[in-house]
Amino acid sequence: MRQVAEMVGSPRIVTGKSVLHPTGDPTLDESGERALRRRTLESALEMLAAGEHSDAA
C-alpha cells in the first residue's frame, strides 16, 4: 500500500493496481492487462533512471 511505503520512507514509489494484484487487473482482457503491466513497470524504471548517475570512476 502506498501509505505504508511513504510511512517507512521509501524514496521511489509507483502505485500498483490493487493489493490483490499489484501489476495486474482481472477486469481487463489479456492485452489490456499486459499493457497496464508494462506501463507500471515502465514508470518504475523511469523512476530508477531519473536523477544523477554517480561518476563512472
Binding site: 500500500m1 505504508v4 490493487s18
Partner: protein, 423 residues
C-alpha cells in the same frame, strides 16, 4: 425511529417445549431442526446446548446471533425477510442466550469458544447459554451458497428463539432514539461514528452484510444507529474478531447512545468498506469524511475497522480526510506485536493520528488445556482445531489458539477490555 428492546433474561438452556421461564430457555429440538431443514441447501441439521460453567469447548463456529424477534418485523430484512427499514419498533430479546452456527467445511477462520478455564474470561460467549447448530451442505451446494445458507440458518434460529422471549414477556426494557429538541443537547459536541463494515481483503459474493447486500461496490453512506443494532448489518464471513452478535450489541453504538444528550450529540453512523484498490480507498475516505462534516455536521468521529492491514490504512486515510475538514477523530484499532517494538505497532499510521485506542495485540496466543466435552461440526471424537502453525490437533486435547480464533475475544468494534500499553 424508536427501537425498543424487551429483554427476557436467560441464564441457561435445555431441551424441551420451546419457552423461557425462570431464566431457563427450553428448546424443542425436533421442531427447530424441522424448521431449519426446510432450507434445501442444508442437510444433517442437529443441535447441541452448552451452558455457562460447563467444561466444554465449542468449535467450528461460523457466526453467532442473539435471539431476537420483532412481531411487527422486519426480522433480518434482506436476509430472511423482505426488505423494509430496520431500527424501529419493538424487539423481544432473549438476553443471555446465543445461537452458534457451526461450519462443517474446512476453513481457517472458524472460531472456538472456551466455556471454562482462563480463556473463558476472554470470550463473552462463555457467559451465554449457547444453542449450537451443525449442518452440512447438501450435494452440489457451493461453499458460497452454504455460507449464505448458514447466515439464514442463524437468523432463522435467532428469530425462532426470539419468539420465546416475546411470549415470556420482558424482564427489562431499553429503548433507543435520537430525537431530542432540548437546547442543552444542541450545545453538546456532535459526534458521528464511522463504521467500516467489511474489508475486501477476502472478497466473497454472497456475504449478506448490509440489508442482505454484499457491499462489494458500496460507496460510504449514512445509517441510523438503530439499523446497525437491529439486524440491518451483519458481520462479514471474514472479519477477524466479530460475530453478528457483536454487531447486534455494537459497543461503540451503545456507548454513544449511553452518553447521548448528556455529554454529546450522537448524530449518526456512516458505513463504508475497506476497498482493496487504492483509488477506491481514497474516494471512500473523501466521501465518508464529507458525510461526517456536511451531512451529519459532526465535530468529532469515532472510527473502527475490521480485518487486517488494509483496513488500518483506510481508517487512517479516513481520519486524515476528516481532519482536513476540521472534524476531529479517534480510532479504535488493534496493534501488531511483531518484535514488540512500538514502531511496528501499526501497518500504517498517519502524521496526525494522535488519538488511538488500542484493542489489543492481534498475534496473541492462548494455551488451552484438555477439555471434557467438545461440540463441533464433526463428531466430537473427530473434531480438529487449526493451530497457529497451520497443523491440526484434536479439539479435546491441549492446544494453542490464536486470540483471533477465540470468538468475541478480539472485538474491534469497541467491546472488551483487551488492550495494549507502551513502556
Amino acid at each position: 425511529m424508536r427501537l425498543e428492546w424487551r429483554l427476557t433474561h436467560v441464564a441457561r438452556a435445555e431441551f424441551g417445549p420451546t419457552a423461557i421461564s425462570g431464566g431457563c430457555l427450553r428448546v424443542a429440538h425436533q421442531e427447530l431442526c424441522a424448521l431449519l431443514a426446510q432450507d434445501r441447501r442444508l442437510q444433517a441439521i442437529d443441535l447441541e446446548i452448552v451452558n455457562p460453567g460447563e467444561q466444554c469447548r465449542i468449535t467450528d463456529i461460523f457466526d453467532v446471533f442473539e435471539p431476537r424477534f420483532k412481531p411487527a418485523g422486519p426480522n433480518f430484512p434482506g436476509l430472511l425477510e423482505p426488505l423494509r427499514r430496520a431500527g424501529d419498533g419493538v424487539s423481544a430479546v432473549a438476553r443471555g442466550a446465543a445461537v452458534m452456527v457451526l461450519n462443517s467445511l474446512a476453513d481457517n477462520y472458524r472460531k472456538t469458544v472456551e466455556m471454562s478455564g482462563e480463556a473463558a474470561a476472554l470470550t463473552p460467549y462463555s457467559r451465554t447459554a449457547n444453542i449450537c447448530i451443525r449442518s452440512r451442505p447438501a450435494p452440489g451446494v457451493s461453499r458460497d451458497s452454504y455460507y449464505r445458507a448458514l447466515k439464514e440458518l442463524g437468523a432463522r434460529a435467532a428469530v425462532y428463539l426470539g419468539r420465546a422471549a416475546e411470549r415470556a414477556g420482558a424482564d427489562e426494557v431499553e429503548f433507543f432514539t435520537l430525537e431530542d429538541s432540548s437546547a442543552r443537547s444542541r450545545a453538546l459536541p456532535r459526534v458521528a461514528y464511522i463504521f467500516a463494515i467489511a474489508s475486501q481483503q477476502r472478497p466473497t459474493t454472497s456475504d449478506p452484510i448490509l440489508y442482505g447486500d454484499n457491499v462489494r461496490q458500496l460507496i460510504p453512506t449514512a445509517l441510523h444507529p438503530n439499523e446497525i443494532i437491529d439486524g440491518a448489518v451483519l458481520a462479514p464471513y471474514w472479519n477477524f474478531g466479530s460475530e453478528s452478535y457483536t454487531v447486534q450489541n455494537h459497543r461503540t453504538v451503545l456507548e454513544l447512545y449511553r452518553r447521548h444528550r448528556r455529554e454529546l450529540n450522537f448524530t449518526g453512523v456512516i458505513v463504508m468498506v475497506a476497498a482493496e484498490v487504492e483509488e477506491a480507498r481514497t474516494r471512500n475516505a473523501i466521501i465518508a469524511s464529507g458525510l461526517a462534516r456536511h451531512a451529519l455536521r459532526a465535530d468529532g468521529v469515532i472510527i473502527t475497522k475490521y480485518g487486517g492491514g488494509i483496513p488500518e490504512s483506510v481508517a487512517m486515510e479516513t481520519y486524515e480526510a476528516c481532519q482536513e475538514l476540521g472534524v476531529k477523530g479517534t480510532i479504535v484499532i488493534w496493534a501488531h506485536g511483531g518484535d514488540g517494538r512500538i514502531e511496528g505497532s501499526l501497518t500504517v499510521i498517519s502524521p496526525h493520528a494522535d488519538a488511538l485506542v488500542s484493542c489489543g495485540i492481534n498475534e496473541e496466543r492462548l494455551e488451552l488445556p484438555p477439555i471434557a466435552r467438545v461440540v463441533a461440526a464433526a463428531p466430537a471424537a473427530q473434531a480438529l482445531i487449526a493451530q497457529p502453525d497451520g497443523s491440526l490437533k484434536p479439539a479435546a486435547g491441549a492446544l494453542q489458539l490464536r486470540i483471533l480464533a477465540l470468538a468475541g475475544a478480539a472485538d474491534q468494534l469497541g467491546g472488551g477490555r483487551r488492550s495494549s500499553e507502551e513502556y
